[in-house]
């Protein structure tokens, strides 16, 4: 349901490509994440968080590697991964814009900000612009409610936001990003 304030979960598509058969050993960076967590019965969520920390999302192939290395059924791995809102299955853009849609932000105008960002970027929530620069997301409260409404850019909080301010923020961020070598 595409309503403002409704968290849209990114679920893997039914026909998700899981990569080639896992003939090779996992890449070293993935092994470095998996090794310390081997045999820990409480580590599944943490494993997925670290993989996402590594790649910015959960590449299906890495999840398969993790399942094999840790001896966990793949179904359980994906069962956990799809349960939580935090996990993504597609690569994020370089700048992650998160509009807080928590109660405090909602009553102070978050829906208008979200709408303006959708219009400005030309994408719905949970999508990435074609140039790979912006990913637009909604979150339910980042704990800055007293400065509502709040928008985050790559984790940095901007309080007392307005629709116009959000548009400027996008412009500034884009200029800064394009200015990078």
């Amino acid at each position: 349901m595409a309503q403002t304030g409704t968290a849209q979960q990114t679920r893997p598509r039914k026909t998700m490509y899981l990569g080639d058969p896992l003939a090779e050993p996992p890449p070293p960076e993935l092994l470095a994440v998996l090794d310390p967590l081997r045999g820990r019965d409480d580590a599944l969520v943490t494993v997925l968080q670290r993989i996402q920390g590594l790649y910015g999302y959960l590449p299906a192939r890495s999840v398969r590697y993790a399942a094999r290395e840790l001896g966990v059924p793949l179904a359980r791995m994906f069962g956990v991964a799809t349960f939580y809102n935090q996990f993504r299955f597609t690569p994020p853009g370089r700048i992650r814009l998160q509009v807080c849609c928590g109660t405090a932000c909602h009553v102070r105008g978050a829906p208008a900000i979200l709408q303006r960002l959708k219009d400005t970027l030309g994408i719905p929530a949970d999508q990435t612009t074609p140039d790979g620069m912006f990913t637009l997301q909604t979150v339910f409260c980042v704990g800055g409610c007293s400065l509502a409404p709040v928008v985050l850019s790559n984790g940095q909080a901007h309080g007392r936001m307005t629709a116009v301010g959000a548009e400027w923020l996008v412009r500034d961020l884009r200029a800064a990003e394009e200015g990078k070598p």
Partner: protein
């Protein structure tokens, strides 16, 4: 003369630009050659004046805000009376008194769990110790565990996570389990979207939470503890991890704590974004690395929790109250509150109120005192319409109920709940039907889907509410809404479902005329529903 300058750099401060202010102050102090030490602290609670800057010299201190980076030099030059500089504008001054009582926002508050927030450097164990930290633990370890539990019972401390279960009783049940392996869990999931009490305490005073947990571990006989922090709080995780490392180093965690023969250690677990994980059985599944779906209770966690072992689970604020009970005494703590509930409660006061922020008040203060006395009433001279307490599990109360005391039973009698501390005030511009639709869109998307009444019922309620806000309401919709709400309330598996209808039921009870206007007149009295304009 060395001055100490403190800037609140919690999540709220940073959102207001506190980091820029810190950098500007550092540059200005260097330029003006002032021997000032600039400290980063947690949140004082007066978020509406952030970024907040406190300058202390020789026992006097002045709190300024909001202080943007542009005025840093002017502020320092003026405050220290450098030649040619003007005194800082009175408009910037929040408070000059050491106890802050000259600022009406602070005057009625009683700070217990947040007493150090915004005052000490949260990353400094020395600061915490200088403020009397770990003294409560020392006293607890000098007592038998049973005596600690008795003190907590006498203090009338009740769970701050929302339900208000007596903490001492919970501890006793857990202690009395024969299983020698017991766990301790701190619930820092803070799922209510519009609340930040737990974040403030952890970011601003992490050692207090750890101290409360170690005392609980002593009382219960637990060996291992977890703090489950929600994914959206990276700064809280950072401060907690730092505090745990310091506490291990200093012997407040680990083996043979303070020579009392207590072995206890704490692990931080980051949540992954699921509201239902605040529910205790779901939270434990999540710690175990599973999907965070709740299960039937009983057995309660105190009997069978993590990996089937007895587990005591409390909210952040509950643990944070414990050190003060040990140092201040159970009778003092009980005396702060009401006959049935001791101590203080923090609330995240937000929305259409003039002065937003985190407030801590004695339990039993009325809603009016909190919203009008502390919060200064409605911003831009608007009219109070409702206060939403307890988030998606709570309810909306009208002006007629403003004399209700903030306490578990009186609030429950209104149909709302005490909740974990979210208090969102709304004015005439908010449509209660649309506001209710908002909450249902939240619970509907956060329902884990395990039980049918919650999975289907929240969707049904959301469907009806959406229809109403689009001007497509039917005459029998309210009756249908009430029926579904009642079914979901009575038959859902966990607290998410049983409380999800609360926003619907309270608004139907107190704001029914808005619903009927939507249905029969195709009119939105607040002028908020776009389809009805």
């Amino acid at each position: 003369m060395t001055a100490s300058i403190r800037v609140g750099t919690s999540t709220c401060g940073l959102a207001a630009g506190a980091e820029e202010t810190v950098r500007a102050l550092q540059a200005a102090a260097a330029q003006l050659d002032l021997p000032a030490e600039i400290k980063r602290t947690g949140c004082l609670g007066a978020c509406h004046r952030e970024p907040l800057v406190e300058i202390s010299t020789n026992g006097t201190s002045v709190l300024y805000g909001p202080m943007g980076p542009a005025h840093a030099r002017e502020l320092l030059a003026g405050h220290f009376g450098l030649p040619g500089a003007e005194r800082p504008s009175e408009e910037w001054v929040v408070s000059r008194a050491a106890d802050r009582r000259d600022y009406p926002y602070f005057a009625p508050q009683v700070k217990v769990t947040t007493v150090n927030c915004g005052v000490i450097d949260p990353l400094s164990l020395d600061d915490y110790l200088a403020a009397g930290g770990y003294e409560g633990l020392r006293r607890a370890l000098a007592l038998a565990p049973e005596a600690v539990i008795a003190a907590v019972q006498q203090s009338k401390l009740r769970g701050r996570g929302g339900a208000g279960y007596p903490t001492g009783v919970k501890w006793e049940i857990c202690r009395n389990q024969p299983d020698p392996l017991k766990y301790l869990v701190c619930n820092a999931d803070e799922g209510d979207p519009g609340a930040f009490m737990d974040r403030t305490v952890i970011e601003g005073d992490p050692h207090r939470v750890l101290e409360g947990m170690v005392i609980a571990a002593w009382a219960i006989g637990a060996r291992r503890g977890y703090v489950y922090v929600r994914a959206e709080y990276p700064l809280a995780v950072k401060h907690l991890e730092a505090a745990i490392a310091q506490a291990r180093e200093a012997g407040y965690l680990g083996t043979d704590i303070l020579g009392a023969g207590l072995d206890f250690d704490i692990i931080v677990k980051e949540g992954a974004g699921a509201f239902v994980c605040g529910e205790e059985t779901a939270l434990m599944h999540s710690i175990e690395g599973k999907r965070g779906a709740p299960r039937m209770r009983p057995p309660y966690p105190a009997e069978s929790g993590l990996w089937g072992h007895p587990t005591n689970i409390n909210n952040v604020e509950t643990y944070a109250s414990v050190p003060s009970i040990m140092t201040g005494g159970a009778a003092w703590f009980a005396g702060l509150g009401t006959a049935q509930s001791g101590g203080t409660k923090t609330f995240a006061l937000t929305g259409a109120v003039r002065l937003t922020g985190l407030v801590e008040v004695p339990i039993g203060m009325t809603l009016r005192e909190v919203i009008f006395g502390i919060g200064g009433g409605i911003r831009e001279d608007g009219t109070f319409k409702a206060v939403q307490i307890g988030g998606p599990s709570g309810g909306c109360l009208p002006a007629a109920l403003l004399e209700t005391p903030v306490d578990y039973e009186p609030l429950r009698a209104t149909g709302a709940i005490m909740g974990s501390g979210g208090m969102v005030v709304v004015d005439e511009e908010t449509c209660m039907v649309d506001f209710t639709r908002y909450f249902l869109s939240f619970t509907q998307s956060e329902s884990c889907g395990k039980c049918v009444p919650c999975r289907i019922g929240t969707r049904k309620m959301l469907g009806i509410l959406t229809r109403l806000t689009r001007g497509e309401g039917r005459p029998d919709d309210l009756e249908r809404l009430e029926r579904v709400a009642d079914t979901v309330r009575t038959t859902s598996l966990c607290g998410l479902g049983t409380t999800a209808p609360n926003p619907v039921l309270t608004t139907l009870k107190y704001f029914r005329d808005e619903y009927t206007a939507h249905i029969h007149e195709r009119r939105c009295p607040a002028g908020a529903c776009a389809a009805l304009r």
